[in-house]
Amino acid sequence: IAPVHFDREKVFRVKLQNEKHASVLKNLTQSIELDFWYPDAIHDIAVNMTVDFRVSEKESQTIQSTLEQHKIHYEILIHDLQEEIEKQFDVKDE
């Protein structure tokens, strides 16, 4: 099996300030696969929580526009996950 590549996959950080924000995110998971980094799963999210999740490049536009549409504060922590994976090996062999 070929190893999974994460080209241009993104990690979002979203600040959920009210119930509506939480339900917007929950609704998004009905149609888009999100890999939750923090908290561990969608059912753990709550109001006032900062949520980190990974999403494919393809779906990241939908995520971004939905968040903007509902005025949910977000930042993109990682723009290209594959690049970040390669960057973690930043120590040369001794």
């Binding site: 990690v11 980190d52 990682i78 090996f89």
Partner: protein, 308 residues
């Protein structure tokens, strides 16, 4: 041929196995390797016992790498073994600790998942066991312990990253660890598990908002331990019970060990706070390990002095 093991780099499973052998050769009087079981894919689960071999002593059980993608965690366990053995006879505190206590260190709990995260999917979290009636693979080992195991309906689907498994202790890895801890219940006085990320030191409980009887005691230890950690690089950790500090979780190792009777249990969520998340650069391994070591040494000193 596996390349050289390095404490400043992430090491794959083959390198970690060779490293355990090297530790045995280098410190035969202080290190022994115990095979506590094997995984679904028939990889060995090794615990390194550090400390004097004669007589029974108080012990601390530590595990790393229960979640495959949290690579900084196994890196810390290796660092701990290295520093403990290297500083014995040189550092006063470590010498005292190792004269009077044993440390059981499980450097990689979820070996199959860890291998998978190196070879196939860097973002893998669960183990690699097959699930009946599902094509989805794996169980979240930190939802598989027999403590409030079935209280969350949100962990019962095999395709979830937090799937609890078909039954408590259904997984070979969980079973191996629980059997080992049960059989050493008299000597193990504390349990520490290492995760990433978010910079937290967590104490029981996760499955309830109720506080354990020695909550104040645990909170004090956590406070001083995080203070000790911050003295090195001013890294800020928050601390507190799992349920109120992060969110409710069921079936976790921390709660299971506590309810079994080991009343000092701690879970570290190591660096960072999200900038790199699970992909902490190797250049951060040493600083992370150095500061965490201060914390763990404080906890060990406390256990030595305050448990019977």
């Amino acid at each position: 041929i596996a390349g050289r093991h390095s404490y400043a780099k992430y090491n794959d499973w083959d390198k970690i196995v060779s490293w355990t052998e090297k530790m045995l050769e280098k410190h035969p009087e202080m290190v022994s390797r115990i095979k506590i079981g094997s995984t679904v894919e028939d990889n060995p689960l090794y615990v390194l016992k550090i400390g004097k071999k004669d007589g029974e002593r108080k012990a601390i059980f530590m595990d790393c790498g229960i979640h495959a993608r949290e690579w900084i965690s196994p890196a810390f366990c290796q660092w701990f073994v290295y520093q403990a053995t290297k500083s014995y006879g040189k550092n006063k505190i470590m010498t005292k600790l190792l004269d009077r206590m044993n440390f059981y260190v499980l450097p990689v709990f979820n070996v199959d998942g860890y291998i998978w995260s190196w070879t196939q999917d860097r973002m893998w979290r669960k183990n690699r066991s097959r699930n009946q009636n599902s094509t989805c693979i794996g169980t979240d080992l930190n939802r598989n312990f027999d403590v409030s195991w079935d209280s969350s309906p949100n962990t019962n689907k095999p395709c979830l990253n937090v799937y609890r498994g078909p039954a408590p202790e259904s997984e070979k890895e969980t079973k191996a660890v629980t059997n080992f801890i049960r059989s050493h219940l008299n000597s193990i006085k504390a349990y520490i598990t290492f995760h990433s990320y978010s910079q937290m030191l967590l104490i029981p409980y996760g499955y309830t908002f109720k506080l354990p009887p020695n909550h104040q005691d645990l909170l004090k230890v956590a406070r001083i331990a995080t203070d000790a950690l911050s003295t090195r690089y001013e890294t800020r950790y928050i601390y507190g019970p799992i349920a109120s500090t992060i969110y409710k979780t069921s079936g976790s190792s921390l709660d299971w060990v506590y309810d079994l009777g080991i009343k000092h249990t701690f879970a570290f969520e190591l660096r960072d706070k999200g900038k790199s998340g699970f992909l902490l650069p190797e250049s951060r391994i040493k600083p992370t390990c150095k500061e965490t070591m201060l914390s763990v040494k404080f906890i060990a000193k406390y256990i030595l002095k305050n448990t019977s």
